[in-house]
């Protein structure tokens, strides 16, 4: 298996993205969007959201799942494997090294301060991407999506099981949009 240009780019991209995914997996969403949609143009914007949905709904970490699915979309199973490798190497290396002196690491004031500083940047990035995603999603079906996002937000706040939320989201979409399809079919056209 020769790592040609695309595979190498895929590996480098997932590796870099994984290396900067601090503060919980969600920040990989804007990072991936910027890399794979805007810069490389390998994925369309609305496709990206679908891929993220699948990654989010599957067992496992979002970061890894997102890398797998992007890799698969771009270059099939080989792409998925390359992307997976890229995404797990940073934590594999970093933790392997840190595990030998983690006591010093977790109490190091410089590192703690850096992390606190970066968390603010990460919060900002997430705010920005939520705004963008929300506006993208609202474009097509305003009322439904608005209500859905609000309901999900509140449900998560109330500690409803996430698997249940995802299931209800998918199911309600199924019911709602199939109804719309049926209505337009009754009109006589596809």
């Amino acid at each position: 298996m020769m790592k040609d240009n695309v595979y190498l780019k895929l590996f480098k991209s997932t590796f870099t993205l994984s290396a900067f995914t601090f503060g919980g997996g969600f920040v990989i969403i804007p990072l991936m969007k910027q890399k794979f949609v805007d810069t490389l143009g390998w994925i369309e914007e609305d496709e990206m959201l679908d891929l993220v949905s699948i990654a989010q709904s599957s067992p496992g970490a979002l970061t890894v799942n997102a890398s797998i699915i992007v890799g698969y979309k771009v270059k099939g199973i080989k792409g998925a494997l390359v992307a997976t490798l890229g995404s797990i190497l940073p934590p594999l290396f970093i933790i392997s090294i840190i595990s030998y002196f983690y006591n010093t690491f977790i109490s190091n004031p410089v590192i703690l301060k850096l992390l606190m500083a970066m968390n603010i940047g990460i919060a900002a990035i997430l705010i920005d991407v939520v705004y963008e995603l929300a506006t993208t999603v609202i474009k097509d079906f305003k009322l439904y999506t608005l209500i859905m996002m609000l309901v999900v937000f509140i449900a998560t706040y109330l500690n409803v099981n996430i698997i249940l939320i995802i299931f209800i989201g998918g199911f309600s979409g199924f019911v709602y949009f199939m109804k719309i399809y049926q209505k337009s079919n009754k009109g006589g056209d596809q």
């Binding site: 679908d50 934590p91 594999l92 840190i98 968390n119 919060a123 999506t145 989201g169 199924f174």
Partner: protein, 185 residues
């Protein structure tokens, strides 16, 4: 040798049953790794959680690397990590195959249309929590617990402004925030 295999199996289970977010893996790790096998002490487990907050990478992968390394060195870390991501690899590829082949079907399309705002809602909630924590150093929506710091508030507004106006690579913002925040705060 058998214990190496057990390590693989336990982390395979963790990878299989962690749905909906990294935090979901914690109770599983606690049960399987700490309680059942004693591969980690409770103290090491809590350190692991802290380290995971401080390093890039999902908690489950950090855990597999950490525990694997502790038991069997680098090889252990690799084996445990492969175990934890294998369920994802299989399931995600199957779902992706289905998606790419059938996404234009009305049924599949309807489900996806429902999942999109759901995911946005989930990310919105996570963002809310991370913002509260990063800017106001609190976990709860209670203004009394807010540690109000004008610098942090100014910084986040500044970053959001930069992002909205110039659309830079977010990695630059992460680096900038690290440097700027370190100096200013």
């Amino acid at each position: 040798m058998f214990e190496l295999f057990q390590l693989f199996i336990e982390f395979f289970k963790i990878g299989l049953f962690t749905i909906g977010g990294g935090v979901a893996s914690l109770p599983l790790i606690e049960t399987l790794i700490v309680k059942n096998h004693g591969w980690l002490s409770f103290e090491e487990f809590s350190h692991l959680v802290v380290i995971s907050e401080m390093t890039p990478g999902p908690i489950a992968v950090n855990a597999s690397t950490f525990v694997g390394n502790k038991l069997f060195g680098f090889t252990g870390g690799v084996v445990a990590t492969i175990g934890v991501i294998l369920p994802s690899l299989i399931i995600v590829i199957v779902l992706a195959k289905i998606y790419l082949k059938y996404r234009n079907l009305k049924t599949v399309n309807s489900v996806l249309n429902g999942l999109r705002p759901t995911v946005v809602g989930l990310v919105a909630f996570a963002t809310f929590g991370i913002t509260l924590s990063a800017v106001f150093h609190t976990n709860v929506l209670d203004v009394n617990t807010f540690d109000v710091n004008l610098f942090r508030i100014a910084l986040i507004i500044f970053y959001v402004f930069l992002l909205r106006k110039y659309k830079p690579n977010p990695i630059y913002i992460i680096v900038l925030s690290g440097v700027l925040g370190y100096v200013v705060l």
